[in-house]
Amino acid sequence: MADEALFQFLHSEIIQYVNSAETGESENGRCVSKLENMGFRVGQGLIERFTKDTPRFKDELDVMKFICKDFWTSVFKKQIDNLRTNHQGIYVLQDNKFRLLTQLSAGKQYLEHAPKFLAFTCGLVRGALSNLGVKSIVTAEVSVMPACKFQVMIQKM
């Protein structure tokens, strides 16, 4: 489908642009947080659109399942492969073939560049959860591409 490629190309260009704007930075910390903030705002708007017609959510687990199934399907055309929780506010979303990483490599090459490509999605999830009333911190880790794990830590108010 053509529209999937559009977003992937745009996403790569955004990362290139933000990276080049940060000249002289030895670490790419600021680049990652800029991308995350962009994702946050987009996530908020997206959730408003997607949940317009869905019935209200029962609890936190319901919200996470929505993110893993409907939200992920709408954005990445597939569902999250595995959702784990310790029932104490930590959820791990595992995607074995993350769409934005499939073009990078199929193993350990370019591993050090992977965080930049996951930052926008982390912000996306954080923004989506925040608009649904769940305050959280989202981080991502990747050991072998294109599989990656998103860890969501719920902040109790």
Partner: protein
């Protein structure tokens, strides 16, 4: 035709409130504020049937002697409140539902506007015009 329309944020402060100017605005602000309690009660819904809980439209919140107040909550906990004149008995439930639908669609557009920061008051002219079509026309 509504007499007052309000949009209230998740943290219970008004994002947008507009009423027919001929009557005291303060009274409407007060009515909307008190209706928030009723909305909270309906959302928490202890002991209610599961079917009620899943709906976004809350229905008639409470009637006063002059007005009827209707509520609607989105999944992002933003509340819409519509106040209509009690004497206007021709308004059916379906019409109120469709008013809320239009409001929700219009609000979603506002949210997706990159110039709007969530949490600010709504200043979009498009939203204003949708609301105007639903308000009683002041002559």
């Amino acid at each position: 035709m509504a007499v007052c329309i309000a949009v209230i944020a998740k943290e219970n402060y008004p994002l947008y409130i507009r009423s027919v100017p001929t009557q005291g605005e303060l009274k409407f602000h007060y009515t909307v504020h008190t209706s928030l309690d009723v909305v909270e009660e309906k959302i928490s819904g202890v002991g209610k049937a599961l079917a009620d809980q899943r709906e976004l439209y809350l229905g008639l919140l409470y009637p006063t002697e002059d007005y009827k107040v209707y509520g609607y909550v989105t999944n992002s906990k933003v509340k819409f409140v519509i106040v209509v004149d009690s004497s206007n008995t021709s308004l059916r439930d379906n019409e109120i539902r469709s008013m809320f639908r239009k409001l929700h669609n219009s609000f979603t557009d506002v949210m997706c506007n990159p110039f709007y920061n969530p949490g600010d008051t709504i200043q979009s002219k498009a939203f204003d015009s949708i609301v105007s079509t639903m308000m009683v026309q002041a002559c």
